[in-house]
Amino acid sequence: MYQAFLIKYAEIGIKGKNRNMFENALVRQIERSLRDCEGTFAVTKEFGRIYVEAESEYDYEETIEALQRVFGIAGICPVRIHEDMDPDSLRQATADFVREVYPEGKERTFKIFARRSNKAYPKDSMELNYDLGEAVLQNCPWMKVDVHNPDVVITVEVRQRIYIYSETIPGPGGMPVGSNGSAMLLLSGGIDSPVAGYMVAKRGVQIDAVYFHAPPYTSERAKQKVIDLAKLVSRYAGQIRLHIVNFTDIQLAIYEKCPHEELTIIMRRYMMRIAEDLARQDGSLALITGESIGQVASQTVQSLLCTNAVCTLPVFRPLIGFDKQEIVDVSTKIGTYETSILPYEDCCTIFVAKHPVTHPILSVVERCEKKLDGVIEDLYRTALDTVETVIVGEV
């Protein structure tokens, strides 16, 4: 029924001189997302518009889904392209369009919204509105005109070719990935961190990730689960370099040397330090975590202060004000929830104190950490030197 889509974007339009860069990034991301879809597509930029045209057979649902994963797209309009510049043939084409998209059986009100930017065309916008409205009324008696509050708006744009469309399918919004620098996501196997990565990627940020693996206390399956989650996020965010850090020895050292109620907070501080070092190696400009205030002991405001204290890069916490259910809702929408709840995590509880401190005091935590001096330096270096990097998703 449709052979092409008009891509509407919102925020790119206001970016002044950078506009070209944003548009090019969007075109690249659309092409990446369509790569796995059936058929071949041409993605073209034309006077502040992006068109996706199918050049072969394609699957409508699959294509829409792929486009809905491209940040920067505000709306997707399935569009009919009409090449014949003769006004009579346009009348016919418009009536045919309405008949097919809004078939007889249900009464609807409509208006024609015509825009003629091709001044060579013999009729102007006002004339087209009148002319095409009449054609629809004559051919589709179940359609009634309502110019103030119509059920459907039939847009007809006369450019080098003529575009007819009426429906706008919402896109994910945001800005195209690659238009806003890059950041390092602390990815666990849980529900929150993939959502946090998604949220920041939505603002055009390219994402890399780090996962802390603790064999034999966490299993190969837990690691595979994190790789799978990174793949799911990469469907939106594009290629992700996932760094897998072997964290066991650092954890054991903390366990041996530090008070058990401070275990988690100290562990978190080491994770942030390692993440920041990896971020610098990758050229990332910020860290991303899935923290939300008060969700667990290590996410109270006091705890956040203690973990934040070891970082110099900005730490983005896009979920900070979210309730759990709100996070679950996004997670479900973006398709990471099912994987996140697989039960491979938590095979060992020895690193979690029975009563972890919920209001840590920075000076106390720092004093406890001192006990690691002389031991931790080597372990830290080894952890960085033995990082395994898995690349998921396509550029």
């Binding site: 034999p216 206390y217 299993s219 366990y255 491979y344 938590d346 095979c347 060992c348 509880t349 020895i350």
Partner: protein, 385 residues
């Protein structure tokens, strides 16, 4: 060096099994139901396999029905008996230590209104035949008791149970899940008065996705899979010729030297048990006389180390074992078997199953023990207080 000590989960195929699977996939690939020569040729594999199994069990060939594996065999025995005998009664007796492939169908029947009696066991995991005798009634349609427990290797007194049922309640069907027993213990359904017997291919060095259900001629059983009417209308679906051919070859080879193999595995089991006890603070589950349990299963709790942590530590050294009770928050309490034998929480959390086959070498046991002696003290340093 590698030590594969998870043979109760699955076994390596015999070479000759893989050979016949390949041959029936690439050369004799006909559909046994076809009228032409290719069909006849393929059908011969089914006949040979049924004959080999019938010879081992001392039953008739027509009493062997091939399935997709142990789980289907168990499901069929239970749902098929319930369906065929529902007018006679709704009471079923089973044990508290059955595998999920029996326990789950029982729970489903319970939801459908059947009365399910679950026999308790001793702390060695053995049901008391006297308790069964007391529970049996005239309207009991089915008794289902496994022969060898998959987690701790205890052996149930199926012959005694079978004789009693046949003598006093001849209309009650007796099903035995023999998935861990076949090839390790001699099983004679006629002598033991077993009506239905489940066996799986991949536990006996055969292919995965194939098994059989022995159905005594006298048994009243409905099919649970309907279709093209294969296997006498009892189990429809194009016959899995490669799987069935492989199963027959595996069963024949395994049972040809059963006693020698069992002796070999008992020696491995004793060697491992001795070594494990030497680690200190170790509980061995199942029959205290190791030879009163199955030859291939040894379950031990190395107190203070979570089973999964030990499993992953050993895995890193190419030693493969199984942790009975998943420690994920979903199964906090561990398996039904471990609960039934009254294992304590620290025992349940640290219970690891080692299982052997005739292919397991003494060096593998020694390698495992050597590594355990190294890692156990290390892991015990980091214990949740």
């Amino acid at each position: 060096m590698e030590a594969y000590l998870d043979n109760a989960a699955t076994t390596r195929c015999y070479e000759e099994v893989a050979d016949i699977v390949r041959k029936t996939m690439l050369e004799d690939y006909g559909n046994p139901s076809a009228m032409h020569r290719r069909g006849v040729e393929a059908e011969q594999y089914l006949k040979d396999s049924a004959a080999a199994i019938a010879r081992i069990l001392k039953v008739k060939e027509k009493e062997i029905f091939f399935t997709s594996g142990g789980t289907e065999s168990n499901n069929w025995a239970i749902f098929g008996t319930a369906a065929a005998n529902r007018r006679r009664g709704k009471r079923i007796i089973t044990s508290a230590v059955e595998h999920a492939a029996v326990a789950r169908p029982m729970a489903v029947l319970e939801e459908m209104g059947f009365e399910i009696i679950r026999l308790k066991t001793t702390k060695e995991g053995v049901v008391d035949p006297e308790e069964l005798k007391a529970a049996l009634t005239k309207d009991t349609v089915l008794v289902s008791v496994m022969m060898v427990n998959n987690e701790i290797g205890s052996i149930e007194p199926v012959a005694e149970i079978g004789s009693y049922i046949r003598e006093h309640y001849p209309e009650t069907m007796f099903h035995v899940d023999a998935i861990q027993a076949f090839g390790k213990l001699r099983i004679y359904p006629k002598r033991m008065k077993i009506d239905l017997l489940s066996v799986s291919g991949h536990k006996i060095h055969g292919p995965k996705g194939v098994g059989f259900l022995y159905i005594d001629e006298r048994a009243k059983l409905s099919p649970i899979i309907y279709g093209g009417g294969q296997q006498n209308g009892m189990r429809s679906g194009t016959d899995n010729v490669p799987g069935i051919a492989g199963l027959g070859v595996a069963a024949a080879r395994m049972c040809a030297s059963m006693e020698e193999n069992a002796e070999h595995m008992y020696q491995l089991k004793e060697r491992l048990a001795e070594g494990l006890l030497g680690l200190g603070d170790v509980t061995i589950h199942g029959p205290s006389d190791l030879r009163k349990g199955a030859p291939h299963v040894l379950n031990a709790s190395i107190i203070g180390i979570r089973a999964e942590v030990l499993l992953h530590t050993l895995e890193d050294r190419n030693i493969y074992v199984s942790s009975g009770s998943a420690c994920s928050s979903h199964h906090r309490n561990g398996s039904a078997t471990m609960l039934a034998i009254g294992a304590s929480l620290p025992e349940r959390e640290s219970s690891v199953r080692f299982s052997f086959s005739e292919l397991t070498k003494e060096e593998e046991i020694d390698y495992a023990l050597e590594n355990l002696r190294e890692v156990v003290p290390m892991l015990r340093r980091y214990t949740r207080h």
